[in-house]
């Protein structure tokens, strides 16, 4: 199965005119140059028969984060726009992605290629502040008109955590046989104890039926 995914990724990369592709963890991913974005997507749609538009979104690669864990190694700061296309006949499916520099977050719209891109691009635009050139109506989708800022950017803080710390830290007690979590107050993630609700307990208790 792995090799089938890799073969498909190679084929799509060829159609898209790109050299870099990967197929880790069953995810066929092809990196495309920003200037060839629309042509590449069209070529993939027509050449590989991927008529189904799954989603379009973005990842904010940033070294300073206001929420969550910071990255262990420094990365080049950019927005990575992902679009997922798949086939309506078999399980061929691929992620195409391209990088946008943070100071120039513009890209061509895909709404002329796939009708479904319309709403997805509106969402990405308001969440990340990316501008999609040529989009028919880049209005707000989720957020109110008075909203300021772009919530899914890593620099946008989760305001409820600023105002008060995660309430679970107060409530959860130590389990008898586990170690104490480190009570480090830096960053939000460190406040979460390791034996919080929902963390998998080793399966000594997995009984037979």
């Amino acid at each position: 199965m792995e090799s089938a995914v890799a073969d498909f990724a190679a084929r799509v990369a060829e159609l898209a005119g790109s050299e870099s592709w990967s197929a880790d963890f069953g995810n066929a991913k092809v990196r495309v140059d920003r200037s060839r974005w629309v042509e590449a997507v069209e070529a993939v749609r027509d050449g590989a028969g991927l008529a189904f538009f799954s989603f379009l979104s973005a990842i904010d690669w940033s070294n300073e984060v206001a929420v969550g864990d910071p990255l262990e190694e420094t990365v080049e700061e950019r927005y990575e726009v992902l679009v997922r296309l798949s086939s309506g006949k078999n399980n061929d499916s691929v992620t195409l992605s391209t990088d946008l520099p943070k100071n120039d977050a513009r890209i061509q719209t895909l709404s002329n290629v796939y009708g479904g891109a319309n709403w997805h691009e509106r969402e990405a635009a308001e969440m990340f502040g990316i501008e999609f050139e040529g989009h028919p109506n880049l209005d707000r989708l989720y957020l109110t008109d008075e909203f300021e800022g772009h919530p899914l950017r890593k620099t946008y803080p989760l305001l409820s955590r600023e105002i008060k710390p995660w309430p679970g830290m107060v409530d959860v007690e130590d389990m008898p046989s586990t170690e104490n979590p480190e009570a480090d107050s830096g960053g939000v993630a460190e406040q979460l104890p390791s034996n919080a609700e929902g963390v998998a307990v080793p399966s000594e208790e997995g009984d037979e039926a």
Binding site: S54, G115, L141, P151, S177, A189, A200, E204
Partner: protein
């Protein structure tokens, strides 16, 4: 005072009145956000010309809870609890693609028994979701009786889900590597932890009998009704290529004639061990979407019946470390949820919390076809189409 009206002048007056009438602008009405039929807080701004629709613009975001941002501050097990609230009618099914994505990144193999239990619960969630749809859709068209009958049968299914997981709508039952033991599970009750509750197999068989019975009832009561046919056949046809381009998935896509079911193509759960058919419609109108879901209930009950007889014994969860750290990588797993294709794109940078979680929800894409499909139809057809797309706002807005 009593001069007779000059007939030629009178004719002129009436002409003027008529031409003023014809220039009357259309009416713009606002349907929602609080409205009995919009499945939640959805607002539709409709420009009308009499009863004809000129343009409909959906306004969403009333239920936006910021799931993707919240996922960036939660550990993977905590996200499981968050995620089954996206599509609250089919609670269990929301967790599956996420858990499978994490298991794929961690390269864990899930024991067979856990997979079977996941499959059974997913199909029960599908039955529960579709029963709500099959009975609330005629309600929106005016027939209130099917709702009462179908919800009564749905109670049996929900009791089954509750017996196994402890929750009717938000089970939070999946664990990374398997499922949670059914009862107990805290440290003092580790040894007493049971598996599936006693009598589960027999009760499930009985419940599936009732599900088949209610399907037959709905067949005669709703699908055989002439008025229902008149309201739904030929209404709001969605052509297959447009459906694919917009990302419409699930029963909506199959209603348009595209025979694509992720259960047959993806291997996130062992569906290949069971025998079931994929229901496909012909025209892509509201009636086809209804009948596809109707048939899917029967097929889901069939799968559950087969799975119940075959559950293997074994552990319920693979060995996983106490603290879940997911290695660096990205993956996308999609599943055939009752509402359509639901997928999670997990970007992990090697920590306890994901770097980015993109939730691809079925109803978001299903709803985006609304403006296109409603052009030129009548106002009651808005309700017919909204109902037949079967979306919930939690799924649309996340």
């Amino acid at each position: 005072m009593s001069q007779t009206l000059d007939p030629r002048a009178a004719a002129h007056v009436s002409e003027v009145a008529v031409s003023v009438e014809l220039q009357t602008p259309g009416m713009t009405i606002n349907i929602g956000p609080q409205h009995p039929s919009t499945h939640g807080v959805l607002r539709l701004v409709a420009e009308l010309d009499g009863e004809r629709i000129v343009n409909v613009e959906p306004v969403i975001g009333y239920m936006h809870r910021g799931y993707e941002k919240l996922s960036e501050v939660r550990t993977y097990p905590q996200i499981t609890a968050l995620v089954n609230r996206i599509d609250w009618v089919s609670g269990f099914a929301n967790e599956i693609p996420f858990i499978v994505a994490v298991e794929r990144l961690m390269e864990i193999e899930v024991p067979e028994r856990a997979q079977y239990i996941r499959l059974i619960l997913t199909e029960l969630a599908r039955i529960s979701n579709h029963l709500v749809f099959l009975s609330s859709y005629p309600l929106e068209l005016g027939a209130s009786t099917p709702l009462m009958h179908a919800l009564r049968e749905r109670e049996h299914v929900l009791e089954l889900i509750e017996g196994v997981t402890g929750g009717r709508f938000h089970p939070n039952f999946n664990r990374i590597g398997g499922v949670k033991p059914a009862a107990g599970g805290g440290s003092t009750q580790k040894k007493l932890a049971q598996d599936l509750p006693k009598g589960f197999l027999a009760e499930t068989r009985a419940a599936m009998e009732r599900v088949f019975a209610i399907c037959d009832d709905l067949d005669t009561l709703v699908m055989g009704n002439e008025i229902f046919h008149a309201r739904t056949k030929g209404v709001a046809i969605v052509p297959p290529d447009l459906a694919l381009a917009y990302g419409v998935s699930g029963p909506n896509l199959r209603g348009s004639g595209v025979a694509f079911d992720l259960r047959k193509h993806e291997n996130y759960l062992p569906y290949d061990k069971f025998d079931f058919d994929v229901a496909v419609g012909e025209n892509g109108d509201c009636f086809d979407r209804y009948s596809v879901r109707h048939e899917e209930v029967r097929q889901a009950a069939r799968i559950v019946g087969q799975a119940i007889d075959d559950i293997p014994s074994g552990p319920l969860q693979a060995k996983v470390p106490r603290v879940i750290k997911v290695p660096k990588g990205e993956t996308y797993v999609r599943a055939e949820n009752p509402k359509g294709e639901m997928g999670y794109y997990v970007v992990s940078e090697g920590g306890r919390i994901p770097y980015r979680l993109k939730i691809r929800s079925a109803s978001f894409s299903n709803l985006s076809i609304l403006s296109w499909a409603l052009k030129g139809l009548l106002v009651p057809d808005i309700i017919a189409l909204l109902g037949s797309l079967d979306f919930v706002l939690g799924d649309v807005d996340r």
